[in-house]
Symmetry: C2
Subunit: 330 residues, 2 copies
Amino acid sequence: MATIRDVAKLANVSTATVSRVLNDNGYVNSETKNRVNEAIEQLRYRPNDVARSLFKGSSKMIALFVPDIKNPFFPELARAVEDVTNQYGYTFVLCNTDDNHEKEITYLNALTQKSVDGFIMVSSTICERHLEHVTSPIISLDRRFSSNISSVTVNNRKGAREATAYLQSIGCKKIAHICGPQTASNSKDRLKGYLDVVKYEAWFHSDFIVAGDYRFKSSYEVTKDLLTKHKDIDGLFVANDLMAVGVLKAAESLNMNIPEQLSVIGFDGIPLGLTTTPSLTTIQQPIYEIGSRAAQILLELIDHPEQQVIHEELEVTLIERDSTKRREEA
Amino acid sequence: MATIRDVAKLANVSTATVSRVLNDNGYVNSETKNRVNEAIEQLRYRPNDVARSLFKGSSKMIALFVPDIKNPFFPELARAVEDVTNQYGYTFVLCNTDDNHEKEITYLNALTQKSVDGFIMVSSTICERHLEHVTSPIISLDRRFSSNISSVTVNNRKGAREATAYLQSIGCKKIAHICGPQTASNSKDRLKGYLDVVKYEAWFHSDFIVAGDYRFKSSYEVTKDLLTKHKDIDGLFVANDLMAVGVLKAAESLNMNIPEQLSVIGFDGIPLGLTTTPSLTTIQQPIYEIGSRAAQILLELIDHPEQQVIHEELEVTLIERDSTKRREEA
DNA sequence: ACCCTGTTTGTAACGGGTTACATACTTTTT
DNA sequence: AAAAAGTATGTAACCCGTTACAAACAGGGT
């Protein structure tokens, strides 16, 4: 690989001049500039980004941490972040953490040592304490972990209320909830939203809340159990779409008809909900917007670290599909 | 951030000694080593990977290029690559290329400038010519682009033959094929496998081959068209699962019953095929194994670049689910 | 007493860019 | 005509680890 010194020699100038041409700053005579550019082309010279990073202390990379790349929510989000960061000349690094604290810390350290310029994190286990020694800006997504750290979220509680109220409005009499991991703040908020609506209902019972982990499999198993024990449940608000699809399959395996016997509503609005039969009613998050806003805010934070903390909350939308249906009065 | 010089000063040794302690090579007196380790801890020193990379000319990063992160096939693959590379102390970079040649080249250049140590590529547009100036090892996945570049693939043609023959064996009389983008070698091979079986059938007609692009949406539309025009089609081999799910939904929208009226078989074996109703019969690829083998081979190639080119071909497996059914004789 | 090998540590060059500062010449301002 | 501002370019330090090489000393073998 040719270096800047090779170029300088061939063009008969100093490396400083070549650098000025490369970065288009400082004074360079236009004739000199041409000579340098010719040399660059002739040698197929490409500046070494590592050397540049070392001097600048910045790598032009940003990282996104997601708990589960197999949940279609996150590829969607990743696309958004990728689009924005690429647009601004950053390289995008995607890290899958499995919601595993050690893995998160390992990645955080490894990438900090690589002078990564900023982090976008979807994490349930990270809190301020772990980030004390991280000097690059961080933004939390989907889940919020400190008022000192910028975040982009949706109104989870309100969305959950809306979902639950919707089930009531179509005539569901006993509404259960499959919740996500209680370490995740969004999961807690969705549970709260559900409780806001049903807490004082006469039929309500804590058995109607069962714990999932945002994955398909757990939900499938937990739901089979729930629906076998409580045959009178006629509405189910599930904390995310992936688990809601597990519910659909669980009901199918029990020969329960959705939406005739049971109405199901999810949360997220991932494309997966369009591929099931019945298609999935859900609370749709503006996934792409969440990702792109987060990326934009992070990039601003990188350029202006003194800037104050921003918490942005986006709105969710109820999407009615075929997994819910108005219940006829008995 | 503390530097190696700070540590050296505090421990009263030279930077060389600190470096020896850090990398555990060369001679260091055990007492000195303790002193250095204490200083490291006291200063919370972490070596700067960028400086290290600059000197070594290697960044301990490897990159995976995928055409569409939203296709669940690729997150699965990414997990495999991530697991292996992390295990060997590499940082994993995931790049979404949209099958866009320019984006691929841009990524390739950007990452080469960052001294990325190797590339795993799923690409339809890259050929040897574009890689001439890339000095780090490359392995192609899923698709094969040159005999000089190592690859890990599956036996696409054989799998396609198996799929098509299976449809015949359960009594399908007219079998159509939705193919993938014809730029992709795996897509071409799957078409060939289909043709191997049906080419000389009396009923065969080129109308029975329709072009998709491996995405859900195209397949949904194209299939509605196909099934409307050719109502006698009773078997459909679809080049990947994502499109096969599109077929399921298209048939649903036309009020066609799967598998009663039409048997559908996909290719890939992604988890999505388990969430549809009916669940999807498919040719399953060992996705995780493909990814992890590719990563392993790449890491070997990085350590021993002189090593000869390897082409590994893995086997696929037919998984019978509910989207296919033996056809009763009329 | 001498040589050889092994141990311990330090000095300084190196990797490849960037930029503060110095120098020198040209043009503009007053 | 002198001072100031603008243009053009080079020198060398700097970013921060790594390592070749040198130096110095201990212990073993002959």
